[in-house]
């Protein structure tokens, strides 16, 4: 019995190592290998440089300064708020795009994805024209409700949500399309309204897709620069997020800029680690 089991295990191991050897022996063509390695180096070298030139000795001082903490706190709060806004508005929008049929749906879908490819600065200008004090909608917000968005923390959230929401919508829409719509049908035959079916059946089924989309949107919001600085300005403690602080620090205190960049790098790596089940395993 014991020997049988051992032969079985050996039998399972041998062909696998054989396959690995064969794959290596077949070789990678040089015209592919060289650019591939160059590409890898190109992606990794800047990050390595960041680590090599980091002012490790003075790092604690840089990271404990009030400005850094203000910027980090503002970044985290506004990115999270922008993600929340994206979830509340983006998930229903994704559902509409995936589950209903209305004239011009393809066009609407293209419009939703436009901020994905639009230069963020243009987005910021557009936001100013729409929601600025004299903007198309902004003038009414100001005169009726006394709400002013530009150059406020709320403005930061608006700018980040504008840029980040398409990531969430596209991700959730894809998950919805992959989910079997017949579960919703089954729910309606059990007496559930379409909204109840969405809330009690569809939402739990697509929760992983929503989570992935939210992380993607959050990461995008955290790194947002162009739209934020255009629409919300650069006031420390109010609208100066981490990316803005990094850019500003680079002008007069490069060591501080590197320290701030390290913090953002750490956050990015943490996000990647959180998503490894979704992305890393897909490639292996």
């Amino acid at each position: 019995m014991k020997t049988l089991a051992r032969t079985g295990r050996d039998g399972a191991v041998t062909p696998r190592s054989g396959a690995r050897r064969r794959r290596a022996a077949r070789g990678v063509p040089l015209p592919l290998l060289v650019p591939a390695l160059a590409g890898l180096a190109f992606l990794l070298l800047p990050l390595l440089a960041l680590l090599i030139r980091a002012p490790w000795r003075t790092l604690p001082d840089h990271l404990t300064s009030t400005e850094v903490w203000q910027a980090l706190q503002l970044s985290l709060v506004s990115a999270t708020a922008a993600t929340a806004v994206s979830l509340v508005l983006g998930v229903p929008l994704a559902w509409l795009l995936a589950r209903t049929d209305f004239p011009g749906r393809g066009f609407v879908r293209a419009l939703v994805t436009l901020p994905l490819v639009l230069p963020p600065v243009v987005g910021g200008v557009a936001l100013l024209l729409a929601l600025g004090r004299n903007g198309v909608v902004g003038q009414w917000l100001d005169s009726w409700f006394g709400i002013t968005l530009p150059f406020t923390t709320a403005g930061v959230v608006v700018a980040e949500a504008f840029v980040a929401m398409p990531f969430l919508v596209i991700s959730v829409e894809g998950t919805l399309r992959a989910a079997d719509p017949r579960y919703e049908e089954a729910a309606t035959t059990l007496g559930a309204s379409r909204f109840t079916a969405f809330r009690r059946v569809t939402l739990p089924l697509i929760a992983p897709g929503i989570a992935a989309g939210a992380v993607l949107a959050w990461a995008r919001a955290l790194g947002e620069f162009g739209a934020t600085i255009t629409f919300a300005g650069n006031f420390p403690g109010r609208t100066q997020t981490m990316p803005l602080a990094v850019y500003l620090a680079l002008q007069d205190d490069p060591a501080a800029a590197i320290a701030l960049s390290l913090v953002l790098l750490a956050v990015s790596i943490a996000v990647l680690a959180g998503l490894r089940d979704r992305w890393m395993t897909a490639s292996s």
């Binding site: 079997d180 017949r182 579960y183 049908e185 089954a186 729910a187 309606t188 035959t189 059990l190 007496g191 559930a192 309204s193 379409r194 109840t196 009690r200 059946v201 739990p204 089924l205």
Partner: protein, 363 residues
């Protein structure tokens, strides 16, 4: 399309009592058009039987409200349901692959319907537990659907549909997703549960055995139309299309009856015991056919045709021979007989069928 109440079968809605199901389902989708009339009394189990693509599932979806009717009507216990959205119809559905909600336990799957109907969480769960107990699934109440076997999932799906107390229960290929052994067991259980069900049940299947075991009445659908309906035994005895004849394992021909003979549309005449006139069907089982190498002595009450073997296949412990020639027919014979006759594709044989073993009936 006009909204008349006249059905292809000539049954008028007024003739049908208010209780039960009275429907004429017309659904047009591209080139395909479904047009079937369906009536059933409470307590009756009706099977929609037909080949794939005949429109059975479309009919079921129309009954459930998942596909809109192009024309026709749908009344259940006297109430018109044509315009009622699916969630407001007193209709329960058991889907082919069950569609149990994967994120809910068996208990919460069954409690889903009562919850939607306004029961409190405790009340809904109590009702669900009752249904699971009736299905013998109390031990699996907490299990997620992926941990259930095929047979268990089927019973949870049935419990989930019944827990809404429907007046019409729809089952889409209820046994198709099961392996052969589970099927036997689940079929017997399903038969018991359907017998207890007091309202109308409509099941869709392409399996004649499922239909005959589970249903009181069969409605055979081909190309979106009803081609035959009646009690299972009648349909098995008097098939009216090639599809049904094949399902019930009969050789079927159509022709003109003249006394004790039916002259076939293409080919020879068949001697029968029944005396008929006019258009008629004549049917006989493959086991009634005897094959001979040399021409046997012909009797008056005996049919004899010169045929050629087109193909042979094993059929249980028998050999099924497909014959062409004067008459295309299937014949069953034992392996020994096949060997003695030296049957092979292309072999010439005489096929004989006694008149007493044929069955003729008006077309």
């Amino acid at each position: 399309m006009t909204h008349t109440d006249e059905t292809p079968a000539g049954v008028r809605a007024e003739d049908v009592p208010g209780e039960g199901l009275d429907a004429r389902l017309v659904v047009a989708r591209g080139a395909f058009r479904l047009d079937v009339a369906l009536t059933a009394r409470p307590g009756e189990v009706v099977a929609l039987l037909g080949p794939n693509g005949a429109g059975k599932t479309t009919a079921l979806r129309a009954l459930a409200g998942l596909s809109p009717l192009t024309a026709g009507h749908l009344r259940l216990d006297g109430a018109a349901l044509d315009r009622t959205p699916p969630e407001a119809r007193p209709v329960g559905v058991v889907f082919q692959d069950y569609l149990l909600f994967p994120h809910l336990s068996a208990l919460d799957n069954v409690a889903f319907g009562p919850r939607c109907q306004g029961a409190s969480r405790t009340e809904a769960r109590a009702r669900a537990a009752e249904w699971l107990a009736r299905m013998g699934l109390t031990d699996h109440a907490g299990a997620k659907p992926r941990r259930l076997s095929g047979g268990q999932a089927q019973r949870v799906a049935l419990a989930r549909a019944l827990a809404t107390r429907p007046r019409l229960l729809l089952l889409d290929e209820p046994l198709a997703a099961l392996d052969a052994r589970t099927r036997l067991e689940v079929r017997a259980q399903l038969r018991r549960h359907l017998a207890e069900f007091e309202a109308v049940a409509v099941l869709v299947t392409h399996d004649p055995l499922d239909a005959m075991v589970l249903a009181d009445r069969l409605v055979v659908v081909e190309h979106g139309r009803v081609v035959q309906e009646g009690a299972p035994a009648d349909i098995a005895r008097r098939p009216r299309t090639d599809y049904i004849a094949q399902l019930v394992g009969l050789n079927l021909y159509r022709g003109q009856a003249e006394g004790h003979r039916v002259r076939l549309e293409a080919g020879p005449a068949v001697a029968t015991t029944e005396e008929l006139s006019g258009p008629a069907f004549v049917a006989f089982p493959p086991s009634a056919v005897t094959l001979h190498r040399d021409r046997p002595a012909a009797g008056s009450a005996r049919n004899l045709w010169r045929c050629e073997v087109a193909g042979l296949e094993t059929h249980g412990d028998q050999i099924r021979a497909d014959l062409t020639g004067e008459l295309a027919l299937a014949a069953d014979l034992t392996t020994v007989a096949a060997a003695e006759l030296g049957l092979h594709p292309g072999a010439e044989v005489w096929a004989a069928v006694k008149a007493a073993q044929t069955h003729a009936y008006p077309a």
